[in-house]
Amino acid sequence: MMRISTTQMTNSGVRQMLLRQAELQHTQLQLSTQKRILKASDDPVGATAINALTAEISKLEQYNANADSVKASNELEESVLAGATDVLFRMRELAVSLGNGSYDESEFDSIGVELKQRLDELVGLANSQDANGNYLFSGGQVKVKPFTVDSAGNYQFNGDQSQRMVRISSGVVVPASDSGFDVFVKIKDGNGKFAVSSNSANTGNATISPGSYQAPPDYLAEPYTVAFGLNASNQTTYTVTGDTSGTTIVPATVYNEGEAISFNGVTVSVDGEPQVGDELNIKPSSSVSLFDTVKTALDGIESFQDGGAGRAHFTNIITNFQESLDRAMDNTDLSRGKIGARLNTIDSEVDTNLSLIVSNKGSLSDIRDLDFVEASTRFSQQLTVLEAAQTSFVRVQSLSLFNFL
């Protein structure tokens, strides 16, 4: 027979009630916080996972906040460039009109007036600011106005070439801006490989086509001059000389109007009647800002002089202008294409981030959140058990032999 002491009976009754109360309180805390894990020791692995998941979710949410900000800046840039494209279309029409051989000086002048207005409009667009007063196209120097006119009337780019990159997912970084250098300045003039021009002192009316270039090598080695002269039999000839090296590339060759002149991958055709001493220039394309390109055309209009030689020189200027303008439109389209691609990337990354957030939140909920039904059932069971323990304790305690003495 097991002997039981009175204190022992009380103690074990009390202990049972305390244990049940502790369980009940734990469940009650779980129910009131709706959390399964109240402290790390409840489930250390789960607690660490909760931390990792919470950090991951905040990170993804931050990526989406970044994406929103990048998207806004890219959309702003896109709307500015859309405006620029419209202006460029109009400029292209004006450039075509300038090529009309039947127009005279006054007509060119009125085209020039509109061209100047369009140019100002374009410069205004390139100097756009965002809501915070930061210039869109000045690279890293957001407080510096990117395009200004110097005393000589040339357009200066005052910004730098840096691009702000922003991370929008663990694997993707997208640019939040484009430098004005890339959008408006870094435009190869002429046909993209070389630009043609004529000497303003020419006396003949030779015009040169924009031409084409066949690689290799990828680039023209140097600028070339096509000089005209007469041979012994009084035929007009042309000679091609490399400007830097001074070497003769094409020795004196009889000139036939409209015939292609080809050397070192360059092919151009010359029309009109060049005079002795006339020169045509072919130089490797370099970057000329859109504004300077237009300005060159405006200067050409200003200095337009009617007459065979003057008109030929003007035609050469306009030919090069049209070519350069096409490059500029290509470049703007390229920039807009990049922005479009970025916006697509941003959208798809935001979607991916969102679905990751949803799945991480799901995992988080699985680990952290309470199964409410299970917990409520557990709670009522524990309540019943505690009540039973209390009732039986009181009943047992009231039993005493002394009651009968």
Binding site: R3, N11, A40, S400
Partner: protein, 666 residues
């Protein structure tokens, strides 16, 4: 024939004694540690009369307690284990709770801090975003400070408890010694109540520390605490003294003092609240301090390094964002010199590589002309090196990522130092900048292709690795010199370039002849240029197919407030493995301690629950034998009352018998 009176009276007296013992039991029913007593009834020796033995009544033998030593020992040892786990668990739970608290946890502050960085990176010229980052940095610093303070408050409480417990152990030792002398000195049988008192004192002692007892022939107990340190010998007791650790003023050592001599017993203590607190100190508190400090250290180190590689909103080179991790004061705070040291060269410790730091503290001591560095967690020697011959001297411990710096002075054999590379940094951490404008979000170097370039060469990358070179430091807000990289003639030959000094005119720095440029892939230009250009502290990467005379200009990034190159690298630091040998990010390293504490608390909880039920069973076993059952005592009362009444009747009968005799002769 024995006297009926005599027999009756012996019955009266014996049962009266039993009634009083029973009453004593009832009265003491609820006294902790009380063992029920029994008055032993012994039948008296009979008288031999007329060939027969006649019983001679009853007498009280001894009043004994119902007690079994093994059950008491079981209670003592299970009390020690339970109390040890209970004390350990409550400390673990505290750390567990305030580390895990998601609203106040450090991870939350880190996350907000990194979000603020991202916002600066998104809009680096915004002073609002910078101000927010400044304030978030401030609040991160405060968070480290407040967690450190919480830990420190807990440490102080632990130390206070250790002091109190040492005193209580000493006073319990005294009581036991006193009881010993009373028990040994008592005439005949020792009083059961004294024995109970001594057992209760020993049980209380076993709540504080583990206890072994050895009974002596005179009934006194010798009491040993921990692993055999004698607290009580007979009627003499020693005292346990808690004092400041001479190696580390923030912790305690325990020693056993006899009044004449004193020996340190800290490492011999186990069991009980004291054992639990000491274990919590080494197991929970130290790693918590050190992990926190380690995370703070690597944040300060990474951000200081990165901020110095950038340019702030005022076109100045960035400086430290947080406290310099190796400032003289901080380096000195990592070393605690033992109070008995006599050498004058007190070393300091600088951190070379935070990712190699561990959670350990170290002991450095000089013995036989050699310094030994011992890891206090594993007790293993991590490094041994000869004492430097000339001072000052620096000794790098590469495996730990630290350098020990010995200033001028002397060493003396036997000197020892406590080295805590990480422990206090979370308190030392503070913000070194005073406004958001000092956040170096931009790169200090700007590279630009010149507009007249013909080829397709573009600058694809500018990286800054060191802003302490003369390139950056010689002139404010300028490179010394700004340079131009120019690709060379002759035409048709690509891959050669020159470097020009653009500070005044275009002096040639490097006159061509540098081949190795490969078109259409990334080329690190200054590395190709070789010395001294590769030590400029920055690197320019060019890709594409540059043509002769194509030029790239490299300048100081004046007014580059909209550049976020450096802030973008700040943001990347969040996911970078800068701790634990490159395996953990800040948040991961911090989560680790959370997991570790959680696992320890969980294990302690399980063990504590088991120990609790073992203790309960031990107490049950003891109580089932020694405890008072009131029903039983009630029955005994009735039993002894009835026997008492019966004995009274015997006297009554004897009286009437005697009366009969008297009456018959009247």
């Amino acid at each position: 024939m024995p006297s009926l009176f005599g027999i009756g009276v012996s019955g009266l007296l014996s049962n009266q004694a039993s009634l009083s013992t029973t009453s004593h039991n009832i009265a003491n029913a609820n006294v902790e540690g009380y063992s029920r007593q029994r008055a032993q009834h012994i039948n008296r020796n009979p008288e031999f009369i007329g060939g027969n033995y006649f019983g001679n009544g009853v007498e009280i033998g001894r009043v004994t307690r119902i007690f079994e030593q093994t059950r008491q020992l079981e209670v003592q040892s299970s009390t020690s284990s339970f109390m040890e786990l209970e004390a350990y668990l409550s400390q673990a739970n505290r750390v567990d709770e305030f580390f895990a608290d998601s609203q106040n946890g450090l991870n939350n502050s880190l996350q907000t801090f990194f979000s603020a960085i991202q916002n600066v990176s998104n809009d680096p010229s915004s002073t609002t975003a910078r101000q927010v980052m400044f304030e978030q940095s401030q609040s991160l610093v405060s968070k480290f400070d407040s967690i450190y303070n919480q830990l420190e408050a807990q440490s102080n409480q632990i130390n206070q408890s250790i002091d109190d417990i040492a005193q209580e152990i000493t006073s319990l030792g005294k009581s036991i010694a006193l009881l010993n002398s009373q028990i040994a000195g008592s005439a005949g049988q020792a009083a059961p109540d004294l024995l109970d008192q001594r057992d209760a004192a020993i049980t209380r002692l076993s709540e504080l520390v583990s206890v072994q007892t050895v009974e002596q022939s005179d009934g006194s107990y010798n009491v040993f605490v921990g692993s055999g340190q004698s607290l009580v010998v007979g009627s003499l007791s020693n005292s346990v003294v808690s004092s400041q650790n001479p190696q580390d003023p923030k912790s305690r050592i325990l020693s056993l003092s006899s009044g004449i001599s004193s020996i340190e017993i800290t490492n011999n203590i186990s069991g009980g609240v004291l054992g639990g607190l000491l274990a919590a100190n080494t197991d929970i508190m130290e790693p918590a301090y050190n992990t926190l400090g380690r995370v703070a250290l690597s944040i300060a180190d990474s951000f200081n390094a990165q901020n110095s590689l950038g340019m702030d909103l005022n076109n100045n080179l960035g400086g430290d964002l947080f406290t310099d991790i190796n400032s003289p004061a901080v380096a000195a705070s990592r070393v605690i010199s033992h109070v008995s040291n006599t050498g004058t060269s007190v070393p300091t410790v600088t951190i070379d590589n935070p990712s190699l730091l561990t959670n350990s503290n170290y002991t450095l001591f000089l013995q036989g002309g050699n310094f030994q560095l011992v890891d206090q967690t594993t007790n293993s020697t991590v490094s041994t090196f000869a004492a430097p011959g000339t001072l000052p001297a620096n000794v790098a411990i590469a495996s730990l990522g630290i350098t020990i710096n010995f200033p001028a002075g002397t060493f003396v054999n036997g000197d020892s130092y406590d080295i805590q590379p990480t422990k206090n940094f979370s308190r030392e951490l503070s913000l070194a900048i005073t406004s958001g404008e000092q956040i170096a979000a931009a790169s200090p170097v700007r590279g630009e292709e010149v507009q007249s370039n013909i080829g397709s060469g573009v600058i694809t990358g500018i990286s800054v690795t060191d802003t302490t070179t003369s390139q950056f430091t010689s002139a404010a807000n300028d490179l010394s010199p700004p340079i131009r990289i120019q690709f060379d003639t002759p035409p048709g030959v690509v891959g050669e370039f020159s470097i020009y000094d653009m500070s005044s005119g275009s002096a040639v720095l490097l006159a061509g002849g540098i081949s190795g440029y490969v078109p259409n892939q990334d080329n690190n230009m200054l590395a190709l240029a070789g010395a001294p250009y590769d030590a400029y502290g920055y690197e320019i990467t060019i890709n594409g197919d540059p043509q002769p005379n194509d030029q790239f200009d490299i300048n100081y990034n004046n007014n580059g407030g909209g550049d976020n190159s450096n802030a973008a690298i700040f943001a990347e630091l969040q996911s970078l493995g800068v701790l634990d040998n490159g395996n953990s990010s800040f948040q991961q390293a911090f989560s680790q301690i959370l997991g570790t504490v959680g696992v320890k608390a969980q294990a302690a909880q399980i063990q504590r629950d088991a120990a609790e039920s073992i203790l309960f069973q031990a107490k049950e076993r003891k109580a089932s034998l020694s405890g008072v059952n009131l029903d039983e005592e009630a029955a005994n009362l009735i039993k002894f009352q009835q026997a008492y009444e019966a004995s009274a009747q015997v006297i009554n009968i004897a009286r009437s018998l005697f009366q009969t005799v008297l009456d018959s002769v009247r």
